[in-house]
């Protein structure tokens, strides 16, 4: 009997939990979905972007003075590696096509 009650209780807690969560989420979403919030977000995005830009500029300035590579310098280096890999990949693809053709020709001759 006690076991049965505890099963029902846990089910009830879960069901209630799901409903309350759904209600809270719908309330949050509807409260955020208005013109005022969009304007606020726009302002926040602009400020955040400006801060990030200023930080990046300072970082680049410091890197130049200290003669160390910036994040973009490192990214450019990595990109060179990616470009080489892409060229090798294209060569590999062409080579496999050629090998396939040779294989087919060999088979025809036989």
């Amino acid at each position: 009997m006690t076991y049965k009650v505890s099963i029902n209780l846990s089910k009830a807690i879960k069901l209630l939990g799901f409903r309350v969560e759904k209600g809270i989420n719908e309330a949050i979403q509807s409260k955020l979905d208005n013109e005022k919030m969009i304007k606020l977000a726009k302002l926040g995005l602009a400020r955040h972007t400006d801060t990030l830009k200023a930080l990046r500029e300072q970082q680049n300035l410091a890197a130049r003075q200290l003669n160390i590579p910036t994040r973009d310098d490192l990214a450019n280096m990595a990109k060179l590696g990616i470009q080489i890999e892409e060229k090798l990949d294209e060569m590999d693809e062409k080579l496999s096509v050629l090998l396939k053709q040779l294989e087919a020709q060999g088979m025809t001759r036989e």
Partner: protein, 341 residues
């Protein structure tokens, strides 16, 4: 400490420290490009010539498709006798900030499909796309020159005319009042925590119910491990390329170019009417992220004569972790894949 409790502790340690992001099914890499890897999952007993090529989303990691033995869609496909190829886009670095949808489709998906066809020595392939991976798969299918036999799309966002939530925000993006281009430029790659916060806002800003599912199940180590892995996947967002995000926001969301056949990839127009492969589209009724309205319009746009639409009672990831192929999928694939015998 008794040997029993030592064993229990070792079990707990095991799933907390093990790197399960590698997946549960044996696999081997057949092609690598930048951060992307094309994984091959050989079938224990191959029954079909036509392999499956899985394209996962760019937002989360694809290990959800191979989560846990017995809860893995990849394992289920393999057990059915299909050779499975998974294109894992990997975790982007800052240097990948300029990766566009064009790169993903022509540089990764198309090349990956060619590699999979060559590796499997087959003359046709089934492309399977999940979520945003489904969107990419649909775009690729419209441009594909490779022999695509079948296309399966699970919850793909394709029509962005309306939004299920945040309609005002959606309108603001459409009108150009809200623009994220500058932010995407400054970030380069959008950090995972920004992606996570955005998607949580859209789906469930407050989320405690996953913890409620633990009630009464804490003594079941298999359930705990599966729960832990799902939880890690939910929180495991990956960086998103700024250039791709600009395209998704402007071309897809703002201008709804894909469903209206106006999208350009590498200068070529993406016409959904060019899709002639057998098509299966699946939507999940409890999916908060991609509701049916964002999926169904594609059915009227494609030229496929063999067209199936299935709405199932499930959430966004339910099918991926069920561990067993639903009967409709099993049957659909069986009828459209070349059998070996």
């Amino acid at each position: 400490m008794s040997s029993q409790s030592k064993g229990d502790q070792a079990d707990k340690q095991h799933f907390l420290t093990e790197d399960f992001t590698r997946g549960a099914t044996p696999r081997q890499a057949v092609w690598k490009k930048n951060k992307a890897v094309l994984w091959h999952y050989p079938a224990p007993c191959r029954k079909y010539k036509t392999p499956l090529f899985l394209v996962y989303s760019l937002i989360n990691q694809p290990f959800i498709l191979d989560l846990y033995p017995g809860s893995s869609m990849i394992e289920a496909f393999s057990k059915e006798g299909y050779e499975v190829y998974l294109l894992d886009f990997g975790i982007l670095g800052y240097e990948d900030k300029d990766l566009t949808l064009d790169d993903y489709i022509m540089g990764y998906i198309q090349k990956g499909v060619r590699r999979a066809l060559a590796h499997s020595r087959s003359e046709g392939i089934t492309v399977v796309g999940y979520c945003l991976g489904g969107t990419l798969a649909a775009i690729y299918a419209a441009l594909a020159k490779e022999p695509m036999r079948n296309l399966i799309l699970f919850s793909p966002p394709l029509d962005f005319e309306n939004s299920p939530v945040f309609q005002q925000w959606h309108k603001a993006i459409k009108s150009g009042e809200l623009n994220i281009d500058e932010l995407a430029d400054v970030y380069g790659t959008i950090p995972p925590n920004v992606m996570e916060t955005t998607f949580r806002l859209i789906t469930s800003p407050i989320s405690y119910t996953p913890y409620l599912s633990l009630i009464g199940r804490t003594g079941d180590p298999h359930f705990l491990e599966k729960w832990y892995r799902v939880n890690q996947w939910i929180k495991g967002h990956v960086p998103f390329s700024g250039a791709a995000l600009r395209q998704v926001t402007n071309d897809l969301l703002k201008e709804n170019q894909l469903i209206n056949n106006h999208l350009l990839i590498n200068g070529e127009k993406v016409n959904l009417g060019s899709i002639k492969a057998s098509l299966l589209v699946v939507s999940a009724s409890e999916d908060e992220l991609v509701p049916e309205e964002m999926i169904v319009p594609v059915l009227k746009k494609v030229s496929s004569e063999d067209l199936t639409y299935k709405a199932i009672k499930a959430g966004h990831i339910t099918l991926a972790i069920r561990g067993k192929l639903p009967e409709f999928l099993q049957q659909w694939l069986h009828e459209r894949s070349d059998s070996i015998h």
